[in-house]
Amino acid sequence: MVSKRFIAKRLLLLVPVLFGVSTFVFAILHLSGGDPARIIAGQRASEEVVRQVRQDLGLNDPILVQYGRFLVDVVQFDFGNSYQVSKGNPVRQVLIARLPVTIELALYGQFIGLALGLPLGILSAIKQDSLLDHTTRIGALAGISVPIYWSGPLLILFFSGYLGIFPAAGRIGSTIFLDNSWTLLGMELPLTGMVTIDTLLLGRPVAWLSAVSHLFLPAITIGVYSMALVSRMMRSSMLEVIRQDYMRTARAKGQGAKITVMKHGFRNAMIPVITVVGIQFGTLLGGAVLTETVFGIGGIGTLIVSAINATDYPVVQGAVLTFALLFTLVNLGVDITYSYLDPRIQQ
């Protein structure tokens, strides 16, 4: 259904996107005015030491050379070592350890947003101007008015502090330790790093329950925010489809036809919604930064915040590029879904 050529073309777009992002990051680093050599050497280091560090980092080379070297490093996903946040460790290692955490959070959040937002938007459109419609619209408006860094704490205070049914922070119970690998048919395979999946792979249901209950509140927090946009978009798109001629005709013809056309209408209404979900994923990642901070989850979001605070440039670079990569891949997925729904687009 979806041609390989189309997918290949979309994949090829990854190159200029990442090239652009890394150039952007390079510009930011060189305009920010901080002296990396001074940061690495430390505030109390002598001028001598700083000069040596600068030489070692290649900061005295022509800027064209620095730019070229930077690009070569980026291609290899090599950002050097962290200055501060995870001092001395390669940034790549830090990123790989934290990436699954953010992906897991974002995926569940997006799933909840879609699972709640789509039906609400459709109902709201079909029963336009009913009580349900008004409630949904106000709810959506309230959803985007309530910042994550308030809804998150409220959920924790109520469900964790008051009711005591969900844990307040972290990803899994502190007494649970997971192995580093799992075996399938005698083969030792690496784990995904996503606790809700790893616990299943390892066949440990109790640990899985713990992981799910830890993830529940953060995913709801981020999902409700995403739901608000999805339902607004779905409502608007569905209304447009309903108002088209063939839908009116079908309604006139009676109930049976109506249901068939509703199905068809749903498919058509989904097309714009799907594309917007892709773009909105960027906002979701922004939301992940806040959610991770509220719930004390050590993903890329909290990493970026502490790296900016500590002016740890290699980590900032790596994290920004990782976000860009994630965003691009999600939009690739969106494109494929889109071309499945609307085959004309593959031209």
Binding site: V17, F26, H30, P62, L64, Y67, S237, V276
Partner: protein
């Protein structure tokens, strides 16, 4: 006969306007980059190397933005069109326009990078 004649023509019709657009922007960028550099050194009293590095960084900003904008438009263009149609007030954003403008911005940045980078290279070498 017709088909053979058109292959070259088609390539040309495809490549020439694009090359002209980007090339023009590169030229403008190179001139502006050099002018900024000269202004920084002469009027601002900056050292040549420092000024070139600063101007180069500004160039990378435009280049990066252009590149990102170009590929972003290609990648998420339909999404933006849809989003604006359904959630915004009036717009007339189109993917093609955006890509053309981004090629300009990117070309401009690339030109500035080229000019200032070469100047710095020479200045360091001397």
């Amino acid at each position: 006969m017709d088909a053979e004649a058109t292959v070259g023509e088609r390539v040309r019709a495809y490549a020439w306007p694009r090359a002209k657009l980007v090339g023009g922007a590169v030229a403008v960028g190179a001139v502006v980059g050099a002018a900024l550099l000269a202004a920084l050194v002469v009027a601002g009293g900056w050292a040549v190397v420092g000024a070139a590095q600063f101007a180069f960084a500004l160039g990378t900003l435009a280049f990066g933005l252009g590149l990102l904008g170009w590929s972003g438009s290609a990648m998420a263009g339909r999404g933006f069109e849809n989003m604006q149609e359904h959630l915004d007030t009036n717009t007339d954003w189109t993917e093609a326009d955006s890509r053309r403008a981004m090629a300009r911005v990117g070309g401009f940045g690339g030109g500035a990078m080229l000019a200032t980078g070469v100047v710095e290279f020479v200045a360091l070498g001397v």
